[in-house]
């Protein structure tokens, strides 16, 4: 697969034209909603004239279509924002452009990033890069697939509960969700503010380090951002102590997934690290916390889509309640509505203490448990997802079955810690399997360094 370096120092216009051609050749995967051809070629010509320079000069990339970016509408894969032309660009996009990178298109996702398969896109699902009858994973499915198909060497995604790591695992690419607050979310369609994180997909870890190095840093337009602490770490700390999470290696987990994870653990041992099993019983409750806290937050964040100021407005309404109600019913997909209503339920008086407050207290228990473990362990690991990519339509009838794909990725989201999914081989039937590595807050650089060192072992 291609690397960012393959595009550096080349003719930028040719880089862009080639990427656009690969996008067209792979149209059947439905990974891209809209190309930004005109703007991409304009920028490429400026790079070729030397008017735009930087560490990513002339390198094509794709953004998940919940990042505000010029050149095509920002739809969040929804009817609500189908015709929304962003009046500004996300800080993450601006930072990449400032280094000369060229956005060639907007990737498909589950509408408003609600989902784990990209089947909730209002414009149809993205297909898995390895098996076109299977899901891409989600919600950043399009971004994972364009990277896996080598259309571009990297793509931006957002991860609220696994939306970068799960599709990375399903398509055999690297997906990083950094520490909460590492990258500005200004100009990204908000989902759940206490866990939304920006990250990227690449074909190798070193490219993730490069992209994250560019993206990281304080942004006064996002008050939750941290002062830049991310500096790629060349030297991997030797003799690391790694905990293999026992609860994620039970017999419910696919046999091939467990086998590839154990092999990865063996490789870590062979590289001089210690891997021992660790039991964290509370991780099995994390999905329940997640599906209270996240719907609560997103029900509030999605209240802004009211059909008045921007986005879809229903026709022929006769009352204010109807204007709101019909615009929202037509603009959202079923999963959006389900989550908004769950959020309304857990926040309503009478249920608040039993659901929302209890979940936030349980979240404290999870964080305390992880903090204690990180006093002993450098890294915690396990599979990224309990199974390889499932078939299109296999889980759409049962929301709980769909949610269970997130069970291994949600702990890092609720705790705000960095987590990366790296390719760890294939299943018997040839489907990619990912392993997830997690570290304490702000230990992103060491985490990536370890992951990179394992690529060559």
């Amino acid at each position: 697969m291609s690397r960012i370096a393959d595009f550096i120092g080349k003719n930028a216009r040719q880089n862009v034209l080639d990427a656009l051609q690969r996008a067209a050749d792979n149209d059947q995967y439905h990974a891209i909603l809209n190309l930004t051809k005109e703007r991409a070629l304009e920028r490429a010509d400026l790079v070729d004239k030397g008017e735009i320079t930087g560490r990513l000069a002339g390198v094509p990339f794709v953004v998940k279509d919940n990042f505000l970016a010029f050149g095509a509408p920002t739809t969040a894969a929804s009817k609500m924002l189908e015709h929304f032309d962003a009046p500004l660009q996300a800080t993450a996009v601006e930072k990449l452009e400032a280094e000369g990178a060229i956005c060639i298109g907007k990737a498909n996702l589950d509408a408003f990033a609600h989902g784990g398969s990209t089947e909730n896109s209002a414009f149809g699902p993205t297909k898995n890069a390895i098996d076109i009858n299977r899901v891409a994973g989600g919600s950043s499915g399009g971004s994972a697939v364009v990277t896996a198909l080598d259309i571009v060497p990297f793509a931006l995604g957002s991860d609220t509960g696994g939306s970068i790591r799960e599709p990375a695992s399903f398509n055999g690419v690297v997906g990083i969700k950094p520490t909460y607050g590492t990258v500005s979310r200004y100009g990204v369609v908000a989902m759940a503010s206490s866990t939304d994180v920006i990250g990227c997909f690449t074909t190798n870890v070193a490219d993730s380090e490069l992209v994250l190095d560019i993206l990281a840093g304080l942004d006064r337009k996002d008050m939750t951002t941290l002062v830049d602490f991310f500096v790629p770490e060349k030297t991997t700390k030797p003799n690391q102590k790694i905990g293999l999470i026992k609860e994620f290696m039970s017999h419910d987990v696919d046999e091939d997934v467990r086998a590839r994870t154990n092999e990865y653990a063996e490789k870590l041992r062979a590289a001089g690290h210690t891997v021992e099993e660790v039991s964290i019983p509370i991780v099995l409750h994390t999905l329940a916390m997640y599906y209270i806290i996240v719907p609560a937050e997103l029900s509030s964040n999605l209240a802004r889509y009211d059909g008045v100021r921007y986005g879809h407005r229903a026709e022929g309404v006769t009352s204010l309640a109807e204007l709101y109600g019909k615009s929202r019913d037509e603009g959202f997909v079923t999963e959006n509505k389900r989550r908004i209503m769950i959020g309304s339920y857990v926040l309503s008086s009478g249920f608040f203490d039993a659901y929302y407050l209890q979940a936030q207290k349980a979240r404290t228990l999870l964080i305390n448990e992880l903090n204690t473990l990180f006093e002993t362990f450098d890294v915690l690991m396990g599979p990224t997802v309990p199974t390889p990519a499932f078939k299109l339509g296999e889980n759409t009838a049962d929301p709980i079955k769909m949610y269970l794909a997130d069970i291994m990725t949600v702990p890092a989201s609720l705790a705000g810690i960095p987590a990366i999914s790296v390719p760890a081989g294939l299943s018997e039937s040839g489907l990619p399997i990912g392993v997830q590595l997690m570290a304490a807050r702000r230990n992103d650089a060491q985490l990536l360094s370890l992951a990179r060192s394992m690529e060559t072992t």
């Binding site: 866990t195 999905l287 309503s348």
Partner: protein, 96 residues
């Protein structure tokens, strides 16, 4: 499964400003019941004396100067996003 009544679903839809069809209400009644059944497992956890976590930034108050900043986005470009506008204002259907 946790029972949630049709009236509860209709009330939730109102709270959420969603004008659902009858079929949608019926499907939501099943799905929301199942999801609540699943998340009810949290009542098994003893959280006596535990403080809730609302955010994980490890930041305290973040202050900025009280100066107006349009972040480089002007009024006209925002107004252009409205479904309908007139004389520099967003136009809405007559609903009263």
């Amino acid at each position: 499964m946790t029972q949630i009544s049709r009236d509860d679903v209709v009330h939730l839809a109102q709270l959420s400003s969603l004008a659902l069809s009858d079929e949608e209400i019926q499907a939501m009644q099943t799905d929301i019941g199942n999801i609540l059944e699943y998340v009810n497992q949290l009542s098994d956890l003893d959280t006596t004396g535990v403080e809730p976590t609302y955010q994980v930034t490890d930041l305290d108050n973040v202050w900025r100067a009280d100066i107006v900043d349009d972040y480089g986005v002007n009024r006209d470009s925002l107004l252009a996003l409205a479904p309908d506008s007139k004389d520099g204002q967003i136009k809405v259907p007559k609903v009263l």
